[in-house]
Every structure is written in structure tokens, then in C-alpha cells.
């Protein structure tokens, strides 16, 4: 009963938001580091991809885990947003002005979140399922491995695709700039002394994610990485 109250309460739902958000952030950091292998010779990223694909149990464990995290994160977000919308049936004369000192990121989490979700679906269709640009998907390198290197580079040479990726990761960073500091407070792991460092952590890591993610499509579209196939 107490546990049920906890998960029904706004505080419990916020703790779910924070913990699932943390898990998704952790995955994002790993994903970013993996991506940066595009700057190395093609063997590296193709071998890395082949290694991940060879670990079927681990791969599906992580995929199912991430799916559960995403579903819980969205479920809690929907419940909380509905609760918040109902809490003020009659608004103010100038609602933008009334949320004193609230950052734009903190006021638009649901908007940045929805756009990031649309991006994630597109991204999975693009590079995991291969249905966005199927002409670059089924290719293999000399070693007979899935040619991830070529798929990514040919894909990002399209300025519309790379532009969409860059905009999406900027919004992801925007989402994280509030989410990463908010998460500490939601789980109660904060104090006045830790507040500033945690805000700095959020700002720094959202910046690192944006730069580390966006640098790949940018480097390819401006032909900084320009192999011939």
C-alpha cells in the first residue's frame, strides 16, 4: 500500500523520471564514445559493431532494458504532465512571464522530449532497421562484416539527414541541461553545498553530449572525413 502510494505520488513519479533518465543518459554517453570511432580507420568501427552484434544475449538485454527505461520515462512524463495541466485550469494574463526565473529548458521539457523521441525512432529506422536509406544498409566490408563505416558516411553526406541529426542532438542537450541537474533533486541527492557543482555537471555533460554527437555528421557533411567508396 505504501509502495503503491509512493508510485502514485508526484514525488515517486519524479524519482522514476530521474532514475530512468539517468540510465538513458548513461547509455547516451557510451553511444557517443562508440560513435567517435568514425574518426579512426574503418576497421575500428566495423569491428566494434561486429563485436556488439556477436553478443546477442547482451545486445538484447540492453535493448529490452532501454525500451523499459524509455517506456517508464514516457509513462511518468505523461502522468505528471496531465497532473500539471490540471493544476491550473485558469491561466495567467501572460503565462510566459509568470514562471519567474524558470529557464527555457525547464519549461519546455515535454516539447524537447517529444522531438527527441521522434528522432530516436527515425534514428533506429535509419541505422538499426535500415529502412530510411536501404541503399547504404546491407553493405559488407572486405572482412565480410557489416560495413557500418560506409553506411554512416554515405548517410551523413546527405545534408538534410545530417542537419536533422545535428538539430536533434542540440535538443537532446537542451533536454539534458535541465534533466541532469533536476535528477539529483528529484532523488534527494542534493544539498545547498552540492547544488552549484550539480548544475555545472549538467551544463558540462549536456555540452559534451552535443559536441560529441554532432561532430560526427558535421565532420562528414563538410567532408572532413571523406573516404572514397
Amino acid at each position: 500500500m505504501l509502495l503503491l502510494n509512493f508510485f502514485r505520488s508526484s514525488i515517486g513519479l519524479k524519482i522514476i523520471m530521474a532514475l530512468t533518465g539517468l540510465a538513458l543518459f548513461g547509455f547516451t554517453v557510451g553511444h557517443m564514445v562508440g560513435n567517435l570511432q568514425i574518426f579512426l580507420p574503418k576497421e575500428h568501427i566495423n569491428a566494434y559493431a561486429a563485436f556488439l552484434q556477436s553478443q546477442k544475449e547482451l545486445l538484447w538485454g540492453v535493448r529490452i532494458g532501454l525500451l523499459v527505461m524509455v517506456v517508464l520515462h514516457i509513462w511518468a512524463a505523461i502522468k505528471l504532465t496531465a497532473m500539471n495541466a490540471a493544476a491550473r485550469p485558469v491561466g495567467y494574463n501572460d503565462p510566459g512571464k509568470s514562471a519567474t526565473k524558470a529557464t527555457l529548458a525547464s519549461r519546455t521539457m515535454i516539447v524537447s522530449g517529444v522531438i527527441v523521441l521522434i528522432f530516436i525512432i527515425f534514428h533506429i529506422l535509419h541505422f538499426t532497421v535500415g529502412s530510411v536509406q536501404p541503399q547504404f544498409y546491407g553493405l559488407h566490408d572486405e572482412a565480410g562484416r557489416h560495413d557500418v563505416y560506409r553506411m554512416v558516411i554515405e548517410g551523413f553526406r546527405n545534408p538534410f539527414i545530417s542537419g536533422f541529426y545535428v538539430i536533434s542532438v542540440v535538443l537532446l542537450g537542451f533536454h539534458l541541461s535541465h534533466g541532469l541537474s533536476s535528477m539529483f533533486r528529484s532523488v534527494g541527492l542534493t544539498s545547498p553545498a552540492w547544488r552549484k557543482p550539480q548544475e555545472l555537471f549538467a551544463a558540462a555533460f549536456s555540452g559534451i553530449i552535443v559536441v560529441g554527437m554532432a561532430i560526427v555528421p558535421i565532420a562528414i557533411v563538410i567532408r572532413l572525413i571523406n573516404p572514397t567508396f
Binding site: 519524479k14 519567474t100 534527494g188
Partner: protein
């Protein structure tokens, strides 16, 4: 100075409301905002019209009764003060100032600028009692309390329950209020006896009132007339989490007593 007040008028909760404009001349910049409202009302009464209803009591910033959005900011643009302690020098000459009631489902409108804030009273009641010894005056410092805890408890105790945190929050969340009340007692030895039951009961009461959730936007601390830190909200979340893990205390029939 010359100003125009644009005040929300609404006969009762079910009647439609709207803004009425009141141009005011010869306003002293040393007047408090409520004194200007008094002048508006005197004029309305002289003209045989219904005066603007607004909550006020001590007019020295310590009771938490006055409650209005002044130009979109709870208690007005001045930092760390209530509406009654906001002075006209804060505003530019010839400005149009919009005055609205607190807007929240949990604070239903009664009339004009007056809202019903008894939701806060019910949260306080759910907090229950604090065990203290009665009898003679205890010796000073008989109970050791660290300076850090005493200061933090005092900061939280500064909350006057005005509701500005709810009014300013984009979600209409009362978490700053609840965290101040929980934080104050959880830090002191006198309040620790009922510590975990208190937070569970107060949060349960809070959830029943139809407030929104906290998304850590920090609007509450920006408008709080007592400048209570939003860090107390983190402490409330922790307190609630620990209390949930410990479980609600059950009185044992076999317990000595």
C-alpha cells in the same frame, strides 16, 4: 506618480471574470502596493461601487495573507518581499500594472483577488503533532542542536504559507511550502520523533489537493518572500523516499506504554 492598475474582477467562483482598469494619479512612490489598492477602493466606495476584494492582514510582511500576481510575478517585482511590502518606487511612472489572483485548482477563487488557501491548512494538519516536554521552562541549550541544523531549520521556519510558490510555479506545485514545513521539523530533535510519519502524511495530503508536480524550475524560490531555498525540495524528496523504505509506523498493541 501616475499609474494605471488593471485588476482582475470576478464576483464569485462561478461568475465570469475580467480586467477592470483604474487610472490613479498623485500616487506617492513611498506608498505600499496595498495602500494604492486602498485608494482604489475608497474611490469605488465613494462612487457607490463594489470595492476590490483582496486579502491582507499584518501589512508588515510576516503574516502571509496578502497574495496577488503583480505584473506576472507573485508578490510583485521586488525580491524577497510580500505584496504589502512592495513599494510604488519599484514601478516606473505611467506604467500599467496588471494584478491577478493566485491561479491554481487547489486555490479556488472566492472573489476578485481572494483565493481559498485552506489546502495549505489541511497539509499542515496532516503533519500532526510534535512531541515536546511540558512543565517548567527548560534550560537553554539543554538539547544539543548543531548550528548548521538550527540555521537550516530557522530558514525553513521563515515560511509564512502565502502560496506564492504555487502561484509562480508553472505546474502549480506546493513543494517549496511542503518542503519548508517538513524540513523545519525534520532537522530539530523536537520534531524527529514523528519525523517519518509526518512526511508520509503531509505528502499524502498534498497529493489529494489537486496541485501539480515539481519539475525543479526554481520559480518558487525566485518569488518566495522569505527567500526559502529550493534545495529544501531535494531534502523533502529524500525524506519521503527514506520514510517509504522504513514503512509507516504501526502502533503495537503489545508495546509498553
Amino acid at each position: 506618480m501616475k499609474i494605471t492598475l488593471r485588476i482582475w474582477r470576478q464576483k464569485n467562483a462561478s461568475a465570469p471574470g475580467g480586467f477592470d482598469e483604474f487610472p490613479m494619479d498623485h500616487i506617492s512612490e513611498d506608498m505600499s502596493f496595498l495602500e494604492v489598492l486602498d485608494q482604489v477602493n475608497e474611490k469605488l466606495i465613494t462612487d457607490g461601487k463594489e470595492p476590490v476584494a483582496f486579502d491582507h492582514d499584518c501589512r508588515e510582511g510576516i503574516c502571509g495573507t496578502c497574495s496577488m500576481m503583480i505584473d506576472g510575478t507573485a508578490h510583485g517585482p521586488d525580491k524577497g518581499v510580500t505584496a504589502c511590502q512592495t513599494h510604488m518606487r519599484t514601478f516606473a511612472d505611467n506604467s500599467i500594472i496588471t494584478v491577478e489572483p493566485w491561479r491554481a485548482k487547489a486555490f479556488p477563487l472566492i472573489k476578485d483577488l481572494v483565493v481559498d488557501r485552506s489546502a495549505f491548512d489541511r497539509i499542515i494538519q496532516a503533519g500532526g503533532f510534535v512531541s515536546v516536554n511540558t512543565g517548567g521552562t527548560p534550560d537553554a541549550n539543554a538539547i544539543p542542536i548543531s548550528k548548521v541544523d538550527a540555521d537550516a531549520a530557522m530558514d525553513a521556519a521563515a515560511c509564512i504559507g502565502c502560496g506564492a510558490c504555487v502561484a509562480a510555479c508553472k505546474n502549480g506545485s506546493p513543494m517549496l511550502f511542503v518542503s519548508a514545513k517538513v524540513g523545519q521539523l525534520a532537522r530539530l530533535p523536537q520534531g524527529k520523533t514523528e519525523r517519518y510519519a509526518r512526511v508520509l502524511n503531509m505528502v499524502e495530503a498534498m497529493e489529494k489537493e489537486g496541485f501539480g508536480s515539481c519539475t525543479n524550475t526554481n520559480s518558487c524560490e525566485a518569488v518566495c518572500p522569505k527567500e526559502i531555498s529550493a534545495s529544501f525540495i531535494g531534502a523533502l524528496n529524500r525524506e519521503y523516499f527514506i520514510a517509504t523504505l522504513k514503512g509507516k509506523p504501526v502502533e503495537s498493541a503489545a508495546g509498553g506504554g
